[in-house]
Each structure stands twice: as C-alpha cells, then as structure tokens.
C-alpha cells in the first residue's frame, strides 16, 4: 500500500501530473479577486477567508476526474480490482496520495494568498487550519464522483457537478470556523469540530461508495 501511495505521488509530480495545476489555478482565482473587487482593503480582508475557501474548493475539484480514469485507461484499474487487498483500502490510499499531492500544496499556498487579500495573521492561521482539516473531505467526496464517472470520456465537468453539492457543507463549516476565529463572540471550536467530523465521515463513506461504483463500472 505504501508502494501505491508513493507511486501516485510520483505520478502527480512528474510531467502530466496534476499537482501544480491545482495550486496555479488556486493562485489565479485568488489573485484576480482584488482586481475585480477594487482596492478596498477592509472589504478584501473581510471576504478573504471565503475567497480562499472557494478557490481551494474549486482547485481541489480540478484534478479529481483523473483519479481513476487514468488507471482505467492503461488497464491498471483491472489489476487493482482483482487483488486480495480490499478495493476500498486501495481507494483510500489513492485518495490520501491525491490529497497529499494536490490538497496539501493548497494549504501551504494559502498564507501567501492570504496576504493578497489583506488578511491578518490570525485569519490566515485559521484559514490554513480549516483548509487542512476540510480539504481531505473534498477529496473523499470527489473520489465517489470520479468513480461514478470513470467510464465517461469527458467526465471532468460531471464530476464537479456531482461533487459540488456534497462539498457545500465543508465550505459552510470551513468558512464559518474562520469567521468565528476572527470575530469575537462566535466560538471557534464547534464549527471546526463539525468540519473534522465531516472529513472523518467521508473518509469512511467515500472509499466504500467509490469502491462499489468502480466494481459496477467495470466492463
């Protein structure tokens, strides 16, 4: 299983892998916001956490459709389906590798982009923490979409459409946790805990559902 994790990580870093695409997209989205909104620093600071979260959400949806499709196209998926190792473990490891290659760079890039949005240190820290806790959930939800759309030639957009509604709670609790951290009266911990619960929930449900979808998609 470690072999699978390392292989997927290598693949996403080599040419044609999606690791940097997500970060670049994230930077593009966040970088154009100040030009669109105008130089109102207070406004930017206020909408900053939400913009970072929306950017990160869209960026992590970007490479998801290739999660299983690339494996299917070269026949690797067939071999993965045949092994004694339960398929859901394989799916879980693939999700973990995908998150490490595409989700983690987003978390690391977030402070830099936070500066673009005139966010203070506390807001940047809270955004990073919530992204760290919340983005794995997007990957696990996305794996289900990717598994359902695995045999469709242009499934990319479909995956996004399938996944987005399910990812909305992640966005809501992620953003509300950040605002709770920077605005005094609201407590920070409850939304963060709910966010963590969502991630854990989908870490269990996602691989099971994705494995079931992959079994039935095989032809």
């Amino acid at each position: 299983m470690i072999a699978l994790f390392l292989r997927d990580l290598k693949l996403s870093i080599r040419a044609g892998g999606g690791a940097m695409i997500g970060v670049l997209f994230f930077m593009t989205v966040v970088a154009v916001i100040p030009f669109g909104v105008g130089p109102d620093l207070n406004l930017l600071a206020r909408i900053g956490p939400a913009i970072l979260w929306i950017g990160a959400l869209l960026a992590s949806l970007l490479g998801l459709d290739r999660l299983f499709q690339a494996e299917r196209e070269d026949g690797s998926l067939d071999l993965m389906l045949m092994q004694e190792t339960p398929l859901l473990v394989t799916v879980f490891v693939k999700c973990a590798a995908h998150w490490a290659a595409t989700g983690l760079p987003l978390v690391i890039a977030a402070p830099l982009l936070g500066l673009f949005m005139n966010m203070d240190a506390l807001a940047i820290g809270a955004t990073m923490l919530t992204l760290l806790v919340g983005t794995p959930a997007i990957t696990f939800i996305g794996a289900v979409g990717a598994a359902v759309a695995v045999s469709l030639p242009r499934g990319g957009l479909l995956v996004s459409i399938l996944v987005l509604p399910l990812a909305i709670p992640v966005l809501i609790f992620g953003v509300s946790a950040v605002y709770a951290a920077i605005e005094d009266p609201a407590p920070f911990l409850p939304p963060l805990m709910i966010l963590a619960a969502i991630t854990l929930f989908f870490a269990v449900i996602g691989p099971v559902a994705a494995a079931a979808a992959l079994r039935h998609a095989s032809d």
Binding site: A3, S76, M82, D219
Partner: protein, 216 residues
Amino acid sequence: MRLLAEGLSARRGEDLIFNDISFALGAGEALVVTGPNGSGKSTLLRVLAGLLMAEKGRLKLENGPPEIRHPSELSHYLGHRNAMKRELTVAENLSFWKNFMGDSPGGSGRNLVEAVEAVGLRGIAHLPFGYLSAGQQRRMAMAKLIVAYRPIWILDEPTAALDAGADKLFAGLVNAHLDTGGIVIAATHQPLGLERARQLQMTGFVGIDGGLWHDA
C-alpha cells in the same frame, strides 16, 4: 489445484455473448481460446478474471488456498492494455506491481533484474515506459507476470505487437510457468507454441451452443 468453470454465460448489454461454457484445468494445463473477432474471447477472460459478472454458471477453485474468495485473487490478467504508467520508468512500474500485488501462496516472484532479462530487454529498465516501442512495452508487461507470483495466468492476445523472437520467448515463459504447476488461459489468433494446450473455440452466440469444446 484445479480451476473449474461450470456452465458460464455472460452478456454485454442485452446480448448473450456466450452460453454454457465449462472446462476444468489442473495444475500445469493450458487452455487456448480461439475464435473470430467478436466471438467473446475477451469477455470470457474478463469473466474468469472476475472483472465481469457471469450471467449464469460458476467459477471455482479446488484445493486452492482456503482464504481465497475468488480465483481472480490468484490470477494475473494481461489484457489489451499493459497496465503500466508511461511517466514512470520501467523499473518503477515493475517494482510497484511487485510490491502492490505481492506473491500468492506457493511461490515467489523473481526480482526485477531477472524478470527484465527473462523478456530479453536488459539495460533499458531505467527508461520511462512511454519511451519504449509497442513491442518492448508488451514485453515489459509480460515481465510483470513473473515479478509477482500468481499460479493462474489469464492472457488476452498476449503476443499482439510482438516479433517472432518474442513469440518464442513468450512461449518459453508460459511453458516454464506450466512446468511449475501453473495454469494458463490465453486468447489468441496466433499459435502460441504451447505444449499440452487444450483448445476452446468460440463461435459467437449461435442458438444454445455458445462454444464448441474439444481437445487439441
């Protein structure tokens, strides 16, 4: 170990591709599946590999390891696609499959250097898989069969894109596998040069007799 297929039928969409195919293969036996395009050879192999559900019939393993749920867990499947990543080197690809698949009980896979030599491509394992020619890629996909031990080999058109020398080399690999008590099921158009091979001729679905079954 014996692999038994009893009355297998499979459909794709609405069409029944084949009906009531039965065979029994013991250790060291090979089954060569022949037939025109579209007669259901690949479908049969995918059913045997557990990648397609059989419409009817059963596939079972006698005297196999007890913890096995489906014979596919003891099988290698070499399909039309090579299951290797173009971006990774040959050595990375092979060592991934070796680690990921592990060995079935009763045997052990050979190391990478031996496997690459066995397919006659020594010295190019450091190249990205995508740089190799189609024939070399196919040979490397065969090396995958011997880096992880599996008693059953399911091969779909294994010698497509191979030159005559590679055909012979491949027959050698398969015969060596049979000598150690393995089971081979291969779909092919070309003669594979296998000793002790039985033939299953697929005819496409014609009424109730989906396949003709005779010893070669």
